[in-house]
């Protein structure tokens, strides 16, 4: 038998009873629409979270050490951390076999900076010259400072785009000398913007200077606010974290039950946690939508079963003019599948519209996630087949003589 004939017969049957057909579709439309919306939003949220996280941390093969135990909030700065993390600690960690490189940091907030009559209050961070590699930052103009410049306590600075806008609105900042807390520094480079951090604030309102220049010429502090260690094997960052912790405990003479005077965060592990949390949410939402879809399938099954009873005579007629049991099964399963897949497509379109609305309201990135669409169509076809089996079987078991008499 020709597929086209079968499909056109099924379509005609469905058009004969438009209200019932639409009612049967509704459940699947709702199920697929919510499935599309929820899984797309879940996916978009996950991507957004990952992106913001990545903006802040840069790379995922690093671990971060801060002075002070327990939970501290916000960025550690020279005024809010204990002076326990030393330059010597950084050198010792750099010798640890699991660690490839270490970047030292001294961070201070809201440092008055001046160029002619322009002022700004950026975050000033003294960092090691290997910063670019460890944070995967980029210089869009000029250059980053070198090991030599760090060793010679050079007064050079690399600025973020926010600082450039505030201090050098109309001119090329490279080569210009400006003052950080009255100490003159020459701009040698401009960073590529990083965008928003996890809290939504700008990550570009900063000035980077060599760590040694910061410690000796600007801040006069001999402790670190943070250090970033790059691990050799990102797959084993948890192990490396343990080794660094053990090393610091030994250097700081900490024996349990005494608490650590430092905190190590492992971005890869944190990231995995965040991703896991958001994917759990996605899973729950998807589960709810799947339930709706399942209910849609049950609706098709029950309405179709009622339709079989109402269409007994039609079944009898078709049997008498040559339909075998198999033909009746095919007819009803095809009708169920057509209903479900049409409903599925309508639901996907509806869901796409809903997703556009939500991403606009929630300011999520405009992403077109194709997977939910494809799986929506597939799922609805499967729903149609599965929930069409029972009514189709019921229809095929009707005795044609009884059916004709009804």
């Amino acid at each position: 038998m020709k597929v086209r004939t079968l499909v056109s017969q099924a379509t005609r049957s469905l058009r004969r009873y438009p209200l019932r057909t639409i009612l049967m579709m509704l459940g699947v439309v709702a199920g697929i629409a919510s499935l599309t919306v929820l899984s797309s939003i879940g996916e978009a949220t996950k991507r957004e979270t990952m992106q913001r996280f990545k903006n802040m941390i840069g790379t995922f093969d690093t671990i971060i050490v801060r002075p002070g135990g327990g939970r501290s909030r916000g960025m550690p700065t020279l005024v809010n951390v204990p002076p326990t993390l030393r330059f010597e600690d950084a050198s010792a960690i750099a010798m640890e076999p699991a660690i490839r490189a270490v970047a030292e940091m001294q961070t201070a907030f809201d440092i008055d900076s001046k160029y002619r009559d322009h002022t700004a209050s950026p975050v000033v961070i003294g960092v090691s010259p290997n910063w670019l590699q460890l944070r995967s930052d980029e210089v869009q103009d000029g250059a980053f400072f070198t090991e030599d410049q760090n060793a010679s306590l050079a007064r050079v600075a690399v600025i973020g785009t926010d600082v450039r806008t505030a201090l050098f609105p109309d001119e090329d900042p490279i080569g210009k000398t400006f003052r950080i807390a009255d100490v003159p520094f020459q701009v040698i480079g401009l960073l590529t913007p990083r965008g928003a951090g996890p809290a939504g604030g700008s990550l570009d309102n900063l000035v980077l200077i060599p760590i040694n220049s910061a410690a000796r010429r600007l801040f006069n502090r001999d402790f670190l606010t943070m250090l970033i260690a790059q691990v050799k094997d990102p797959e084993r960052s948890s192990e490396a974290t343990e080794k660094v912790a053990a090393l610091l405990r030994e250097r700081h003479h900490i024996r349990p039950p005494a608490l650590d005077d430092f905190t190590i965060t492992n971005p890869a592990a944190t990231m995995a946690q965040v991703t896991r949390a958001s994917s759990t949410l996605t899973k729950i939402l998807t589960g709810v939508a799947l339930m709706a879809l399942l209910i849609g399938g049950v609706v098709i099954m029950s309405l179709m079963s009622i339709a079989v009873s109402e269409r007994r005579k039609e079944i009898g007629i078709r049997r008498s003019v040559g339909a075998a049991r198999g033909d009746v099964i095919v007819q009803f399963m095809l009708e169920a599948t057509l209903i479900a897949s049409t409903g599925g497509m309508a639901g996907a379109v509806l869901g796409w519209g809903g997703m556009q609305l939500v991403t606009r309201i929630q300011k999520l990135p405009q992403i077109l996630v194709w997977r939910p669409f494809v799986s929506a169509i597939f799922l609805s076809i499967i729903i149609g087949v599965v929930f069409g089996i029972y009514p189709a079987w019921k229809a095929s078991r009707l005795d044609p003589i009884q059916a004709l008499r009804s």
Partner: protein
């Protein structure tokens, strides 16, 4: 072309036991015959028709159609026989509701090879004089027109055997006459027709009459001794 040998059909009936609708019926029909099976209700004529139409299987006995024993056929093969060799005409027309005349006529083609030939379906409707009403819904047609659509449907796959079950039972005399004339024409074209009726006059259109009573053949013979068809028409 049809050979029935000792066909019996028993149905279970409650706890009491069984009811015997047909008791060892035997007869033959040769190609081109126009046979009426007449009997009162409960005589077993509907059961006989269902067995001849391959919608039901006899409890015992042998039904040979075109030299083939029906008993060994599967559901699918029986469906194929109903589709290709048999055309049904029912008392209550049995057209699909909310479906046009021509779409009704096309249904047997769906189950033949799936090739639905609209022009051939229209030709069949023309044959029964309904070309102009081809695109009307079945429910918009009069009883006589509906029955003629049913006849067109029965003819669409050019079956060898036409089974008519009280085809005029739901029609007024005029429409009934038209339908019977159509059947007569088909008979003259050489088709084999088996007509089931309780009506003496309708049976008179056939050339041979088998009378059933209580599941047994009471008489089987030519209708030549019956009065001429003018009296038959008068009865209608």
């Amino acid at each position: 072309m049809i050979e029935l040998k000792n066909i019996s059909k028993t149905y279970p009936r409650g706890e009491a036991g069984t009811i015997e609708a047909l008791k060892a019926i035997s007869f033959q029909i040769v190609p081109g015959e126009f046979v009426a099976v007449r009997g009162t209700s409960g005589s077993g004529k509907s059961t006989l028709l269902n067995i001849l139409g391959c919608l039901d299987q006899p409890s015992s006995g042998r039904y040979m159609l075109d030299g083939e024993d029906i008993a060994k056929y599967s559901d699918k093969q029986l469906a194929h026989i109903r589709n290709a060799k048999i055309g049904f005409i029912f008392q209550s027309f049995n057209l699909l509701p909310r479906t046009t005349a021509v779409e009704n006529v096309e249904i047997p083609m769906v189950y033949r090879d799936g090739r639905v030939d609209r022009r051939w379906a229209l030709t069949a409707l023309e044959r029964v004089g309904l070309a102009k009403r081809a695109h009307h819904f079945a429910t918009e047609l009069s009883g006589g027109e509906q029955q003629r659509v049913a006849i067109a449907r029965a003819l669409i796959n050019t079956p060898a055997l036409i089974l008519a079950d009280e085809p005029t039972g739901n029609l007024d005399p005029n429409a009934g006459r038209e339908v019977m004339h159509l059947l007569e024409d088909l008979h003259h074209e050489g088709r084999t027709i088996l007509l089931v009726t309780h009506d003496d006059a309708i049976a008179g259109y056939a050339s041979r009459e088998i009378v059933l009573r209580h599941g047994k053949i009471l008489s089987d013979g030519s209708t030549a001794m019956h009065p001429s068809s003018s009296r038959v028409e008068g009865a209608l």
